[in-house]
């Protein structure tokens, strides 16, 4: 098991699961090429026709659901925060997203994901992410995500 680090480093499919709690069939990232805790995370997800959602979305025109594209961006972005000291594996919760879909993601595609932390303060993460297919933007989003455990430390107690 890797120690918590503050410099840039990579995470393989096993290691990245230590930092976030999504699991099959909802784990939407395969590999983290480089995470710089508190700043950025980039990596990818490979898609094959074996993905659980392709047979239903859609039978004659399989493509990745937009909600799952967003999920991929969010999972990569949260890695940039859950790799900070003391936050490993913390549960996260989506608060809002502003996104654009520009290109379908199909079986056989490699979705390259780049995310950046815009701010991280008192349990609230604001960031942006872009997913590329063959160098073309497929989707991009600005996201607000919280770690409830941290957020609750700053709220009035009744």
């Amino acid at each position: 098991m890797k120690e918590e680090k503050t410099e840039g480093f990579s995470l393989d499919f096993m290691e990245l699961q230590e930092y976030q709690q999504n699991r099959y069939p909802y784990l939407m990232i395969d590999y983290v090429d480089e995470v710089i805790p508190g700043k950025s995370a980039k990596g990818y997800k490979n898609l094959t026709l074996n993905e659980w959602f392709f047979p239903k979305h859609f039978p004659n025109e399989p493509n990745m659901p937009g909600a799952l594209m967003l999920e991929s961006l969010a999972q990569m972005l949260t890695i940039a925060i859950t790799t900070l000291p003391g936050l490993k594996g913390k549960t996260t919760r989506f608060l809002s997203a502003n996104l654009k879909f520009k290109k379908q993601i199909l079986p056989g595609d490699k979705m390259v994901i780049e995310t950046e932390v815009l701010s991280w303060k008192r349990g609230i993460l604001k960031g942006k992410g872009i997913a590329y297919i063959n160098g073309t933007i497929a989707t991009e989003a600005e996201m607000v995500i919280t770690i409830p455990d941290i957020l609750d430390q700053y709220t009035p107690k009744k």
């Binding site: 609230i124 957020l151 609750d152 700053y154 709220t155 009035p156």
Partner: protein, 79 residues
């Protein structure tokens, strides 16, 4: 705009409420929009508007519209 007007405006904008709701009864969790996330938004907006950085204890103690006025006095913001 004086400090009280600015304070009220931030509450109204942070929680999407009308000024007539700003009274002694306005407390944390007394309206849907003043939840944990709304609280952080309120604090961030106050810090930006008044150019202050609030201590953690003050953020936790900031439990109502009226209490907030007392807390901001610590930061030399009189209303």
């Amino acid at each position: 705009m004086n400090n009280l007007e600015k304070y009220k405006k931030i509450f109204c904008e942070s929680f999407s409420i009308e000024e007539n709701m700003l009274d002694d009864n306005l407390e944390y969790n007394s309206i849907d929009s003043w939840d944990s996330v709304g609280h952080m938004g309120l604090i961030a907006n106050l810090e930006e508007a008044f150019e202050i950085m609030m201590d953690t204890d003050d953020i936790i103690d900031f439990s109502s519209f009226e209490k907030g006025k007392e807390i901001l006095k610590k930061y030399n913001i009189e209303m």
